[in-house]
């Protein structure tokens, strides 16, 4: 699967571009703040129906304008796919596949899988459990059509349950209503838990293999899935904690508290890993995610490397590009501030590529093979 042609209008800093892409490697070189990351984000948006940054849709429209539009011509399973996305202020978002509008955005997610590797991945290590749950949701939703609906339903039920627990301190508390909510919560929690568990179990061995490939070190790495539901059923958990939850006025147990523990030699990577190890860890995680999605869906996701080379030494960068230029991977998009570094890396790859210079949101092709 690959993106042949991309049109962008009023997306973040980019006023308008039409760009033809190489089926294998596409590089974008320029100083910071020139629009490279925004181009990658546009590609991400066309796959995931949202920005990779936590921005509201109206913040994405270029300053002073009232709409943005993205259009991608893809080749998927040897068929052309025309994806259109538009957002006009006050009118909401439209996603179309070959001219036909989607009824629900979740129907589109997973059609054109994507994996983004970027400096914000650091949040997976540094940030709260919410970051790691969002990570799991992002991956699983690309291989499972109804997973996102289940998570949305679950979160809504949690919000209802918490409102009920809060209101209960003022009025008469309805156990019957709580039970009506809990019977549904238990169903969704069980499904979400089993999908996350299966995902992590499949991810671990691939991840460990990539870590060995990308790092030179001997350290052993792993991931474990932490969930209240690992040891009890959702129904039991909710029942056992009703009085506690009433006191706390929120739901203290369930998959909304799930987390992932990232470890190196048995210790949390956040505490024990060096900066280089953390970076390698995250890249290996993303490559494993790529493998996982391509195994399950049969499609090679688009791979976006956004400005990740800065703190890696040259050999590491070379190793990584050699790895992904290989047949096992598909189309790749790379941004970098260092032109020489990219040129040197590109000299060594055997596949085709296009190199663009980016300045002031203008994209100009400077080399190709």
């Amino acid at each position: 699967m690959f993106l042949k042609r991309l049109t962008i209008i009023n997306f973040k800093s980019i006023p308008h571009i039409d760009i033809d892409l190489d089926t294998k490697i596409n590089c974008f070189v320029g100083n910071n703040g020139q629009g490279k990351t925004n181009l990658l984000d546009a590609i991400y948006y066309l796959s995931m129906c949202k920005s990779s940054a936590t921005l509201s849709d109206s913040q994405i429209i270029r300053h002073g304008q009232d709409f943005f539009m993205l259009q991608g011509l893809y080749s998927r399973l040897n068929m052309d796919e025309n994806i259109h996305c538009g957002l006009k202020l006050g009118e909401g978002k439209v996603f179309k596949r070959n001219g036909k509008e989607y009824e629900r955005l979740t129907d589109h997610i997973g059609l054109l899988p994507v994996v983004l590797v970027s400096p914000i991945d650091g949040e997976l290590v540094e940030g709260s459990g919410e970051e790691r749950r969002r990570y799991m949701n992002g991956v699983i939703s690309q291989i499972d059509r109804i997973y996102l609906d289940e998570v949305i339903r679950y979160n809504k039920l949690i919000a209802h349950r918490n409102s009920l627990l809060k209101a209960a301190s003022r009025n008469h508390f309805s156990y019957d209503l709580l039970e009506a909510i809990d019977i549904q919560l238990a169903e969704y929690a069980t499904v979400i838990h089993s999908k996350r568990k299966a995902f992590v179990e499949q991810l671990i061995p691939i991840f460990q293999e990539y870590y060995r490939k990308v790092s030179a070190g001997q350290e052993s790495v792993s991931i474990s899935y932490r969930s209240h539901l690992n040891d009890s059923t959702a129904g039991e958990l909710l029942r056992e904690n009703i009085e506690k939850d009433r006191t706390l006025q929120f739901t203290s147990v369930g998959v909304h508290r799930d987390d992932l523990a990232f470890t190196i030699d048995g210790y949390p990577i956040r505490r024990e890993g060096s900066q280089g190890q953390q970076k390698t860890y995250l890249i290996a995680l993303k490559l494993a995610q790529f493998d996982f999605i391509s195994k399950v869906s049969g499609l090679k996701p688009l791979l976006l490397f956004d400005d990740i080379f800065d703190k890696l030494d040259f050999n590491r960068v070379n190793q990584l590009i050699e790895l992904v230029a290989h047949d096992g991977f598909g189309q790749i998009f790379i941004t970098d501030t260092n032109k020489h570094r990219l040129e040197e890396v590109l000299q060594r790859v055997s596949s085709g590529y296009k190199l663009y210079r980016v300045e002031n949101s203008e994209f100009e092709i400077v080399a190709s093979k």
Binding site: I146, E150, L157, H160, R161, D176, A180, I181
Partner: protein, 209 residues
């Protein structure tokens, strides 16, 4: 538009009232009011009288809470309806949608909404007790839960199911050909009619997948 730009306080009051209607902003409200001002006076008076008359005389059916001109609505009092079946709906609009399918000959029960703890709507705000009373009289064979497939609709289903499951009745729900989150009023007649015919037993519809 700023309030001080109205040339008349009377005009401004009228605009304010129209702007309270759903989907009507200040600009549309002003357009409607100016339109009314241009109409012949008897026409406008008829318009006002229709609203006043509705407010004065409209009733809600004492059995099913449907809108009605009489104490008991035309559906509840019709001899040709199947009085052993009740279809539970959120609103009067849903009664109209289902009647339009011409696939249903039973009675209704209008809840007046769905349970939503986030919006502070609890079971006691809805016509649930009167539904249980109707079933307790023992003349009902089947209760069809026809609420929207939203989280709120599902919670209301489960809550009501628990209250009525011990009576000798069958509780059914609409077949879920309808996508997640669809509200009944947005479903077309054919789909809705089919969902009514293909209803399933509620206790078999538990699983979320």
């Amino acid at each position: 538009m700023q309030s001080h730009s109205y040339p008349s306080k009377l005009l401004e009051n009228a605009v304010e009232e129209f702007a309270k209607l759903p989907g009507i902003g200040r600009r549309s409200a002003l357009r409607l009011v100016l339109h009314l001002l241009r109409q012949p006076q008897p026409d406008v008076e008829r318009f006002i009288a229709a609203i006043g008359d509705m407010l004065q005389n409209i009733k809600f059916c004492s059995i099913c809470h449907n809108i009605s001109d009489t104490d008991v609505c035309s559906i509840c009092s019709s001899p040709s309806r199947d009085k052993a079946t009740i279809c539970v709906v959120e609103s009067i609009k849903d009664v109209m949608s289902i009647e339009n399918t011409m696939q249903y000959r039973g009675l209704y029960h209008v809840l007046g909404g769905v349970i939503s703890p986030m919006e502070g709507i609890g079971p006691s705000d809805l016509n649930i007790d009167s539904l249980v009373d109707r079933i307790a009289k023992g003349e009902i064979n089947e209760v069809i839960m026809a609420l929207s497939a939203t989280t709120e609709g599902d919670t209301t289903n489960f809550y009501i199911y628990k209250k009525i499951r011990n009576y000798p009745i069958i509780v059914t729900t609409l077949a879920r050909g309808v996508a997640f989150g669809n509200e009944l009023e947005y479903t077309d007649e054919i789909t809705l009619g089919r969902a009514l015919l293909n209803r399933v037993r509620f206790d078999n519809s538990f699983s979320v997948e």
